[in-house]
């Protein structure tokens, strides 16, 4: 795992107690994501949508860097309405675009950090590309809940500060045949919970970096 990646993780995790400090009964949901073969599946977006009531809005920002003609991280998950910056760490310019219906945009050839971040105001999947570097690829899963996590290399994703209550646990992975296919699971949080999700994905379909 890249340092920046863990740092981003760390930032999310450290942010959570601040956001949900009011909640008395908060639990932690750990989800183990595996592929069709049962192997741990990294980069799976796991998010829990509370059943019935509107979720709590917790706006946050995110950044997707371009370094060595790659997007970092490969997969980002953000809450609807969050803004994302695309800092260019390379010496060459990049032309970041998305034709995804969830968010169509382009950042024409630029260096450094664009002045205005891109706000993702619609849930769904956004596939990022660079117009001049065909090999650059990144995914942003825009979700309507603040409770989300990314599975690590062991396939484990942990959603913290999850208030008790019924949820729909959704799991999305970029390598699924349809970019909007989501695995859903209902569960009720009373205490710390463990869940396992198995996705019909072959390891061969994973992006290799």
């Amino acid at each position: 795992m890249q340092p920046s990646y863990s740092r981003f993780f760390f930032r999310l995790l450290t942010l959570a107690p601040l956001l949900f400090s009011c909640s008395v009964h908060a639990a932690e949901l750990t989800v183990n994501v595996t592929d069709a073969a049962g192997s741990p599946l990294p980069d799976a977006v796991v998010y829990a949508e509370p059943t019935g009531k509107a979720p709590v809005t917790a706006i946050a920002t995110a950044a997707i860097e371009q370094k060595n003609r790659q997007f970092y991280p490969l997969v980002s998950v953000i809450q609807t309405g969050a803004s994302v910056t695309f800092p260019n760490r390379d010496k060459v310019k990049h032309h970041v675009y998305s034709f995804s219906p969830a968010k169509t945009f382009e950042l024409k050839l630029y260096s450094g950090i664009p002045s205005t971040p891109v706000i993702f105001d619609k849930a769904g999947t956004v596939v990022l590309g660079c117009n001049i570097h065909d090999q650059m690829l990144a995914f942003i899963r825009v979700v309507d809940t603040p409770y989300f996590a990314l599975s690590d290399s062991t396939g484990k994703a942990t959603i913290s500060n999850l208030p008790n209550g019924p949820y729909t646990l959704k799991t999305w992975h970029y390598a699924q045949s349809n970019e909007n296919t989501v695995a859903e699971k209902s569960l009720t949080i009373k205490a710390d919970e463990q869940a396992a999700v198995k996705l019909d994905i072959n390891t061969s379909a994973l992006q290799k970096r």
Binding site: Y97, F99, G129, L137
Partner: protein, 780 residues
């Protein structure tokens, strides 16, 4: 095949050989060219196939490049993202025309919508596009061929990524004449594309061939896959490259190469080779002709030389400077010519010259006679031939020996040679003791003169080995044109005359047609003589023989006369020589003997005691049966032996003394008294005479006639009488013509005599009367 000459045979054999080799070579090269050009065509076709496949791949690559460029076009992707199909279509057609594609299509991954720019329907395109995309998903790119509306296309499919695949661009080139021409430019092959689809037959959409050839090709290709066949007067090597084959759709590229075109450069080579071959054959023919001529010419020359040699021309010089076998042959031939020439010279000498005397021989004489005769005929001149034969040569030979006889012949030859009058006269030795003399331009009279001159010259004895030998010869003379007109006949006539001369001992005798028993006159003489013998025309005459001392008739000599019905009385000189020559003498002798016997018997009956002496000829003496015949005659006539005595001339015995002696001995043993006639003219030796069983000698009348005047004759007669008496023989003198001679002979002691003084010969029938009248004279 028959060849007249070695030259043409050599030329034809070698030319045939070289032509065969050249033709074989030419055919082998032709075969090889054919094979090689076909192999080259095959190789070209193979290369062509690779080039073609490569071209297709390049086409595909450029197509996919174009498609990729479109796929990565941001605007295009934006249009896709916006699901703006109008824009998508216009972008497709824009790009299609930009890269020169015939079809451009886009299928959206999200919606499965297919946008088409080009002459193809959705219905046709969908399944093919789906399959292409399916292939492309595995490789990220796909190539294929398809037939739309019976028209083949090369298709490529590339994904549109944003950055994930959002759709596929499919671009297609029509496979048409342009591709075929490109391939033709690259590979120099003719290219024809044929295809079939949806169960329809094969059809051709593109070709570098003309329409008509394409049609033909289509005919052939749809039925079989021959790798070589003819189209429009040309052979094509053909290769089929299957581009696409699925289901009932096929696309085949037919690559072709004209074998004639491939062979064309070889054909130039072949033509040059043919020219070289012809040129070589011509040069070779010339060389062969020259060489064979060089070989055969000397042979031809030798053959010509041999022909000249055959004609007897030895004046040939063969000079060859050649060092080879022909030169050796020529030189060998030359020395052979010299050897033959010298041999012929000696043969000629032997053939035409008498070795002993150095005179020309019979053949040479005949040749010269022929020439002279021809000349005489041409010039209307006379010509005479003398044939000479030595008298008694056999005896000389016997007495003196062969060497001396040879010397004698040489001497005679010399004498004859020295006696001739002029250069043109030719002396030759005909053989044995016979010589001939050719006298050109000489009449009968002159020839006789020459003959007598020769006889005179030969009277001088010839000395051999310190001995003097008397010689005499019989000479026969015959002349042209009187006696014959051919050389053989002339010589033969002269020989005949010579025989007569010898028989009559009369020196030179001129030929008379009567000598020739084969002449017309003599043939009739022969038949007349035969008639005379049979028809009793011959008559027996007798001449009394008296005892010179007592004058009593002691015996008679039988003589013959011919009472010819027309010619009257003929003396024996006229027919006896002919009878001797023709052999009729034996008949005459027998007639004489028989007649003598008959007459003698008649006389005995009259009381006349006069034994009759009958002359025998040479031929009679040779007849071994003569004694028996005589015996038989006596028996037939009833005459006792002793009634007939026999007279033999000295010369008649000399022809075959041994046989004559044998016959005489037998006759003597039988009791027939024998006497030697004409004694003194022959050459019988006394030794021989001594051995003969004779009882009587008759001195030749030539001695007796002149003995009154000639002292030497008288001496000869006297000594002959003495000799006879000494040998115990009675002596008879012939030719007594006077009483004085009678007396002389009687005084010399001669026993008997006969002659005109006593009586001429008379017919036998007259004898008894004459005897009555005969008065014996008083003894001298």
């Amino acid at each position: 095949m028959q060849f007249k000459s070695l030259q043409s045979r050599m030329a034809v054999i070698f030319l045939t050989l070289i032509l065969a080799i050249q033709i074989a070579g030419f055919l082998a090269i032709k075969y090889s060219i054919n094979k090689n050009s076909r192999a080259a065509v095959n190789e070209q076709l193979e290369i062509g196939e690779r080039v073609f496949l490569n071209l297709l791949k390049q086409n595909g690559d450029s197509l996919s490049q174009g498609a990729k460029i479109l796929a990565s076009d941001y605007g295009f992707r934006q249009a896709i993202a916006s699901v703006d199909y109008e824009t998508i279509l216009s972008a497709l057609s824009n790009h299609q025309s930009r890269i020169g594609a015939d079809i451009a299509m886009f299928e959206s991954s999200a919606t499965g919508n297919l946008t088409i720019s080009g002459k193809v329907s959705h219905l046709e395109a969908s399944p093919i596009v789906d399959k292409l995309i399916q292939d492309g998903q595995q490789n990220g790119y796909a190539q294929s061929f398809a037939i739309f509306n019976h028209q083949p296309y090369q298709l490529v499919a590339v994904p549109v990524k944003a950055p994930l695949t959002i759709g596929w661009i499919i671009m297609g080139f029509q496979i048409d004449d342009t591709l075929a021409q490109n391939l033709h430019k690259l590979s120099n092959l003719d290219v024809t594309f044929i295809s079939r689809s949806n169960g329809s037959g094969w059809s051709s959409m593109a070709s570098t061939l003309s329409m008509s050839l394409t049609e033909k090709l289509l005919d052939k290709a749809s039925t079989s896959r021959l790798t070589e066949f003819s189209m429009g007067n040309a052979d094509y090597g053909t290769r089929y490259v299957s581009i696409m084959e699925h289901g009932d759709e096929s696309l085949v590229a037919i690559l072709q190469r004209s074998i004639d075109e491939a062979t064309a450069p070889y054909l130039v080579l072949q033509r040059n080779l043919l020219l070289l071959t012809i040129l070589g054959a011509l040069v070779f023919a010339f060389v062969i002709f020259y060489v064979s001529r060089r070989i055969s010419q000397p042979i031809t020359e030798l053959a010509d030389t041999a022909r000249k040699l055959e004609e007897g021309n030895f004046a040939i010089r063969l000079s060859s400077t050649r060092e080879d076998e022909l030169g050796k042959l020529s030189r060998a031939f030359g020395s052979m010519v010299d050897a033959i020439a010298s041999r012929e010279q000696s043969i000629t000498r032997l053939a035409y010259w008498d070795e002993l005397t150095g005179l020309p021989n019979r053949a040479s004489f005949l040749r010269e006679l022929g020439i002279a005769l021809q000349q005489a005929q041409d010039q209307h001149e006379h010509l005479s031939v003398l044939v000479m034969n030595l008298n008694h040569f056999k005896q000389i030979n016997k007495v003196l020996g062969h060497t001396a006889a040879d010397d004698l012949l040489k001497g005679v030859a010399q004498r004859l040679q020295s006696s001739i009058r002029q250069e043109s006269d030719l002396v030759a030795r005909l053989g044995g003791d016979e010589f001939a003399l050719l006298l050109p331009k000489t009449s009968v009279e002159n020839a006789m003169r020459v003959a007598n001159m020769l006889l005179q010259k030969l009277e001088t004895p010839i000395s051999i080995a310190d001995q003097s030998v008397d010689i005499s010869m019989g000479i026969g003379v015959a002349s042209y044109p009187q006696h014959a007109s051919s050389q053989e006949k002339l010589l033969g006539n002269a020989e005949m005359a010579m025989h007569i001369a010898k028989a009559k001992q009369s020196g030179a005798v001129l030929f008379d047609p009567s000598f020739d028993i084969s002449s017309q006159g003599n043939l009739s003489l022969a038949s007349e003589l035969r008639q005379a013998i049979a028809g009793n025309e011959l008559a027996l005459y007798v001449q009394p023989k008296i005892d010179l001392q007592s004058g009593k008739v002691s015996a008679v000599e039988a003589l013959i006369r011919w009472k010819h019905p027309q010619k009257g009385l003929i003396f024996p000189d006229a027919f006896i020589p002919f009878a001797e020559q023709s052999g009729m003498i034996q008949l005459i002798s027998l007639w004489m003997l028989a007649e003598a016997a008959r007459v003698e018997v008649a006389w005995r009956q009259l009381g006349i005691e006069a034994p009759m002496a009958v002359n025998l000829s040479t031929r009679d003496l040779i007849d071994q049966d003569l004694p028996n015949k005589i015996l038989a005659l006596h028996d037939a006539a009833g005459l006792a032996l002793g009634g007939i005595t026999l007279e033999i001339t000295e010369s008649s015995m000399m022809d075959d003394p041994q046989r004559a002696q044998h016959t005489l001995e037998r006759l003597s043993d039988m009791g027939l008294p024998l006497s030697i006639d004409d004694f003194g003219t022959g050459y019988s030796s006394l030794a021989y005479l001594k051995r003969l069983p004779v009882s009587e000698l008759k001195i030749d009348k030539s001695f007796v006639l002149k003995m009154e005047e000639d002292e030497s004759d008288r001496k000869i007669v006297r000594s002959t009488i003495d000799l006879g008496h000494n040998l115990n023989l009675k002596v008879v003198a012939e030719g007594i013509e006077s009483r004085a001679v009678w007396d002389l002979l009687a005084s010399m002691g001669c026993d008997f005599g006969q002659g005109y003084h006593i009586s001429k010969p008379m017919p036998a029938a007259d004898f008894p009367a004459w005897l009555q009248r005969w008065q014996e004279p008083q003894a001298a």
